[in-house]
C-alpha cells in the first residue's frame, strides 16, 4: 500500500474529528457528531495499520480485541450516575497509553545508540509527564468519585511546598534530558516523579471540585496526545490532541467561573475541609419542616415550580421519581422547569444527563442565566440534593468561603422546599441560611423516598 492512502485517511480523519465536535453543539445533531468521531477514529486506525512501517499485526489485533472486550462492558454496565467515574477511568487508560508510547519512543532511540535530545525530547518529556501524571491523577479522581478514597481534601503540613519541589525536580530532570543524553536512571526517575505528582495533585482536592478537575485532566490527556504528534511528526495527532486539550481547558475555565474561583484555588486551595464549628451552629437554629402531604398540597396549588437538582439527587437516584412528580404536576396544569447550576454534580453537565435518563425532555432544562430571573415569579422552588449552589450567603456574606459564586436565586421564590437528609452541611461544610428563612420548608428524608411519597400523595388527591 502506498503512502498516499494513509495520508488521505489521516486528513479525512482530522476533518471528521473537527466535524464531530461541531455537531455536538446541539442535541439534534449530536449523535451524528459521535458517528463522525467514530468514523474519524476508524480511518486513523485503518490508515495506520496499512502503513508500510507496520509489519506485525498479531499482537495489535489481540490488544484491540482485549481493549474492546474491557471497554464495551464498562460503557454499558456503568449506571448514568457513575459517568464521572467512567470518564476518569477512561482518561487514565488513554493517558497511560500516551505515556507508554512516549516511553517506548525514548527507548527505541536509546536502543539505536542514538539517545534523543533537543526538540523531539521536549515533546517526549511533555508527553510522558502529562501522560503519567494524568494516569495516576485520574485513578485518584476515580477513587474519590467512587468514594474508595475519602472525598474530603487531604492536607498535611508543607503540602504545596512538597508538590512544588517534586515538580521542580521533574522539570530539572526533563531539561537535563533535553540538553544532553542523561544517565540511564534519569528517565525512570522522571516517570516515577510524574506518577507520584499525579497522586499528590488530587489528594487536597475535594469531591465537589471534581467537575473542574476532570475537565482539566481531559485537557492534559489531549495535550499528551498532541505532544505525541510532535514526537511522531503526525499532524492528525496534533489536531485531535489540541482540540481535546482546548475542550478540557474551556470546560475547566467555565467550571472555575461558575464557582468564582481561580485555577490555583481549586488545585491548591484544599476547599471544603470540615468546619465543625458551623455544623454545631446548624443544630442550634430552628427550621420549619413539613410532611409529604404538606409538600404535595403546596405543589398542587402552585402555578409554576422550578426544581433545582444537585449531587444529592444523583446519589439517591431520585431522577426517575422526580420525573413522576413533574408528570403528575404537569397533568394538573402546573408548569415544572428545571434549573441547572453549571457545577451541580460531579462533572460538567452531569445533571442534564441524569434528567435526560429519566425521560425529562431537554427543553425543560434551563441554565442558570436563563432561569434566574424567573424565581421571583415562581410559586415553589424545589431544591433536591443541592446546597452550596443555592446558598444566598454567596451574594452578600463577604466572610463566606463561597462569597461571589454565582448562585441560583431560589430564595426569591414564593416558597422554597428543600429535600435533604439532615441538617448536616454539604460538601463545603458551609451552613446555608436558606434553610432558616421563613418561607423555607425542610423536607427531611432520602430524596428518592421523599419524592416518591409526594407523588403518592398527589395520586391520592385525585
Amino acid at each position: 500500500m502506498n503512502d498516499s492512502f494513509w495520508q488521505a485517511a489521516y486528513i479525512i480523519g482530522a476533518l471528521c474529528v473537527v466535524l464531530s465536535i461541531k455537531w455536538l453543539n446541539s442535541p439534534v445533531t449530536a449523535r451524528r457528531g459521535v458517528l463522525a468521531g467514530e468514523f474519524g477514529m476508524l480511518l486513523a486506525v485503518v490508515g495506520t495499520l496499512l502503513r508500510a512501517e507496520v509489519v506485525s499485526y498479531q499482537w495489535i489485533f489481540i490488544a484491540m480485541v482485549a481493549g474492546g472486550a474491557i471497554g464495551a462492558p464498562l460503557a454499558y454496565l456503568m449506571p448514568m450516575t457513575s459517568v464521572p467515574q467512567l470518564t476518569a477511568l477512561s482518561h487514565a487508560f488513554g493517558a497511560l497509553a500516551a505515556a507508554l508510547v512516549g516511553t517506548a519512543e525514548f527507548y527505541n532511540d536509546v536502543a539505536e545508540g542514538n539517545p534523543t535530545t533537543g526538540f523531539k525530547m521536549v515533546a517526549i518529556v511533555i508527553e510522558s509527564l502529562l501522560g503519567y501524571l494524568t494516569a495516576t491523577a485520574s485513578v485518584m479522581a476515580f477513587g474519590k468519585l467512587q468514594e474508595i478514597v475519602p472525598t474530603r481534601p487531604m492536607t498535611y503540613k508543607g503540602q504545596n511546598v512538597i508538590n512544588l519541589a517534586l515538580f521542580a525536580i521533574a522539570t530539572v530532570l526533563g531539561v537535563w534530558m533535553v540538553a544532553a543524553p542523561a544517565p540511564v536512571w534519569v528517565f525512570p526517575a522522571f516517570i516515577g516523579l510524574s506518577l507520584l505528582f499525579g497522586i499528590l495533585l488530587i489528594l487536597p482536592i475535594g469531591g465537589g471540585d471534581m467537575p473542574t478537575v476532570i475537565a482539566l485532566l481531559n485537557s492534559y490527556a489531549g495535550a499528551a496526545a498532541a505532544a505525541m504528534g510532535f514526537v511522531l511528526e503526525n499532524r492528525l495527532l496534533i489536531i485531535a490532541g489540541s482540540l481535546n486539550a482546548a475542550s478540557g481547558f474551556i470546560l475547566s475555565v467555565i467550571m472555575c467561573n461558575a464557582m468564582n474561583r481561580s485555577f490555583a484555588n481549586v488545585l491548591f486551595g484544599a476547599f471544603g475541609q470540615a468546619q465543625p464549628a458551623s455544623a454545631a451552629l446548624a443544630q442550634a437554629r430552628p427550621v420549619k419542616s413539613a410532611t409529604p402531604e404538606d409538600a404535595a398540597s403546596i405543589l398542587e396549588s402552585a402555578r409554576r415550580v422550578i426544581v433545582v437538582p444537585g449531587y444529592g439527587m444523583a446519589v439517591a437516584q431520585a431522577q426517575h421519581k422526580l420525573r413522576e412528580l413533574a408528570d403528575s404536576l404537569g397533568k394538573r396544569g402546573v408548569q415544572v422547569d428545571f434549573a441547572i447550576h453549571p457545577v451541580a454534580g460531579r462533572m460538567p453537565g452531569h445533571m442534564n444527563v441524569l434528567l435526560a435518563e429519566a425521560d425529562i425532555p431537554y427543553d425543560r432544562l434551563f441554565e442558570m442565566e436563563d432561569i434566574n430571573q424567573d424565581f421571583s415569579e415562581c410559586d415553589v422552588a424545589l431544591v433536591i440534593g443541592a446546597n452550596d449552589v443555592v446558598n444566598p450567603a454567596a451574594r452578600h456574606d463577604k466572610t463566606s468561603p463561597i462569597y461571589g459564586m454565582p448562585i441560583l436565586d431560589v430564595d426569591k421564590a414564593h416558597t422554597v422546599m428543600v429535600i435533604k437528609r439532615s441538617m448536616n452541611p454539604g460538601f463545603a461544610g458551609i451552613d446555608n441560611e436558606l434553610y432558616y428563612l421563613d418561607k423555607t420548608l425542610m423536607l427531611f428524608g432520602d430524596a428518592k423516598a421523599f419524592t416518591g411519597e409526594i407523588v403518592k400523595e398527589l395520586g391520592a388527591h385525585k
Binding site: 477514529m41 471497554g71 467512567l86
Partner: protein
C-alpha cells in the same frame, strides 16, 4: 526553508483556537457527552501505539509497551464512544416519547 517542526507548529496554532471556538459553541446541556466524546478522541494516541508495536526491528521493550498501549487506548476509545452514544440517545425533546 520550512521544516517538519515548523509545519507541526503551524497546525498547532491553528488547531487550538479552532478547538476553543468549537467548544465554546457547545450547549452546557451537552457538556458531559462533550467530555466523554473528546475523551474518546484523545485516544487517537492509538495511532502512535500501533506504530510503536507494529514496527520492524523495534526492541522488545518498546514493542511490549506499544501493545499494552494499544490495549489501553482501545479501552478508552470503545468506552468513550459507547457511553457518549448511550447518553445522547436519552436526550429527547418531545414529552411522553418513551
Amino acid at each position: 526553508m520550512t521544516t517538519e517542526i515548523e509545519i507541526s507548529l503551524y497546525v498547532l496554532v491553528l488547531a487550538v483556537p479552532l478547538g476553543l471556538e468549537l467548544v465554546r459553541r457547545v450547549s452546557p446541556l451537552l457538556h458531559t457527552p462533550l467530555m466523554s466524546l473528546t475523551n474518546a478522541i484523545s485516544a487517537i494516541s492509538v495511532v502512535g501505539a500501533i506504530l510503536v508495536s507494529g514496527a520492524e526491528g523495534s526492541p522488545a521493550l518498546s514493542k511490549t509497551l506499544g501493545v499494552i498501549a494499544v490495549m489501553f487506548a482501545t479501552i478508552n476509545i470503545v468506552a468513550g464512544f459507547l457511553i457518549t452514544d448511550r447518553m445522547l440517545k436519552m436526550f429527547k425533546k418531545k414529552e411522553g416519547s418513551k
